[in-house]
Structure formats: structure tokens, C-alpha cells
Symmetry: C2
Amino acid sequence: MNASSASVSSVNPIQQLENQLCFPLYAASRMLTKAYQPLLQEFDLTYPQYLVLLLLWEHQERTVKELGEHLLLDSGTLTPLLKRMEQRQLISRRRDPRDERSVIIGLLPAGEALRQPTCRIPEQLFEKMGFPLTEFEALRDQLNNLLTRLR
Amino acid sequence: MNASSASVSSVNPIQQLENQLCFPLYAASRMLTKAYQPLLQEFDLTYPQYLVLLLLWEHQERTVKELGEHLLLDSGTLTPLLKRMEQRQLISRRRDPRDERSVIIGLLPAGEALRQPTCRIPEQLFEKMGFPLTEFEALRDQLNNLLTRLR
DNA sequence: TAAAATTTAATTGTACACAATTAAATTTTA
DNA sequence: TAAAATTTAATTGTGTACAATTAAATTTTA
């Protein structure tokens, strides 16, 4: 390797994309979200909107703060996203009468109605990828592990 | 579990965030990019801009197409990003005289100058996370594996 | 309890990210 | 070789992300 080469500089291996953790994470996240897209667009949902619905299907009411804690998103992201979902009558937004600082997001019938027709999406995607189940689970667990470190 | 409960609906486990692959990927990616941020902002770089520089430090010239192939980004993302880097004189943009469809991105002195001062960033981050090296490598390899499946 | 500190969303501004379309250049094909 | 198809970036429009600030409500503290 010649450091004075015109086209190739001497390369610090850790500065190469493949050796980094962040780049494969960044790229895989976008690719997987993109793989979700054709399945979600049938319901006119973006991936983050779908995540909000997943949480509301577990508990029909969540404050913006609670949604943000689960999704690791702040109000700067959630407020406009939730307003779009409110316009489509998927969810309701109202102040908590017991604490006017909080906004309670509620699941509306149109949001509930998406639950059954979307319930096979994760399996469909998993099958389409052909990723072995053991690898899937190992990767998921390691990512959750990393996530707790980063949080 | 009572499906008619007012606050909790019966939950398909695969519809829970923790059981999915995509959510931990999505969240970990954002968290790790956010962890890069304080180290990069010293150089007034965003993470995607840093990735472009990593590629140009390997090869001083790359077409937009090549950058997009490596980063899995299209011109809709790259064109404005590269224009911002051009304004700061980090890179140059010019049409390839041999194929006027292509735009060649070249590394300018100001972009080259960021190489040494940023070279410790990946190690710094790795140390700050305290992630065991074996786990780091296992996760990286599994992500690269997933990435080839998604590509 | 009144002032200070904290919490919660909303707002503002910047920067991706990507689908879809456009336009120019090049390559392929009939 | 001229028309058709393809390739390459740029553009347009929508939707996240997120830092920083603001404003209102609540809690803590002196």
C-alpha cells in the first residue's frame, strides 16, 4: 500500500465501512424498513406510523411521552406524525384532564380496524427474507442488548 | 388475557416491539448515529456526510452512482447532501467528460484535512460503549449477512 | 405558599430518506 | 444508423429525525 498513490490512500482498516458497526446497522435498518414499505403502503402507513399502532394495539391509550419512551422518539418527531394520523382518524389526541401537560393518544375505530389485516406482515416479511430463525433470534437479542447499552 | 378489556387488547406476540427484528434495528441505528453526533459535530459533519468522506478517503474520486451503491442511497438523498459538502469545499462535483451522465465527486483539501483528526472516532465510540469485542464482531457480521440478503 | 425548577408538547429550522418524475446522455436494437 | 431502451443525476413532494427553543402546567423547594 502506497500512501502517496494518486487514487488510493493508505487506509485505516477501522475507517472502512465493512469493519464498522454503525454502517451495517444504518444500512440494514433502512433496507428492512424499505422491505416493510410495500406491505404497509397497502394500508397507507409509514413504518413509524405502524409502530405507533403496534403500541396502541397493546394499550388503547398512551401519552405522547409514553410513545416516545417506547419508540425512542421525541415530540419533534411524534407531534407532526401523530397529527397526520389524527387527520386520518386513526387516532385521537386530547390533553389529560388530570395533567394538562400530557397529551393522550387514543386508538380510534379506523386504527383498530387495521390490526387484523396487518397482523401477518411480520411473518410475511420474515418468510420473504428466508433468514434462519436461529439467526433471526440471535440478531434480535444482540440488537436489544446493544440498545440497552445505548439507551 | 381478555380480548374485550378496555385498556389491554389480546396481543399477537409477533406484533410486540421486542419480538421484532426491524424495531431494534431501527432504534439501535438511530441511537448509534446519535452517539456519533457529538464526536462529528466538532467537525460540523453529519453521519451520512462522514460516510461519504470515509469512501473518498479510500478513493479520492467516486461517481455519485458509486457512492450510492456503497451507501445504498439514491440521488434524491445524495445530490443535496453533496451540494452542501461542495459549498463547504470539502468535495468537488463535476461531470465526467467521458460520460456526461455521471458526476464525479472529488476529495478537496478541506475534506482530506478531516481525515487524521477524525480517525479515532470509531475507537472512541467503541470504548465509550463498552461493548465486548467478540459481541461487536458477531453483531457486525450478522448485520452484514442480513444486509446481503436485503440487497 | 410563592418562587424556582422540572416536565411535557409544540414549534422552528436543518438534514436526511425515498418514491416518482424529468431530462439529458449513452447504449442497444431493429 | 435512427428509434427505442437504458442509465445517470436532478428535481419534486412527503415524511421522518433531531437539536434547540418556547410556553404552559406541575412539582419541588426555600
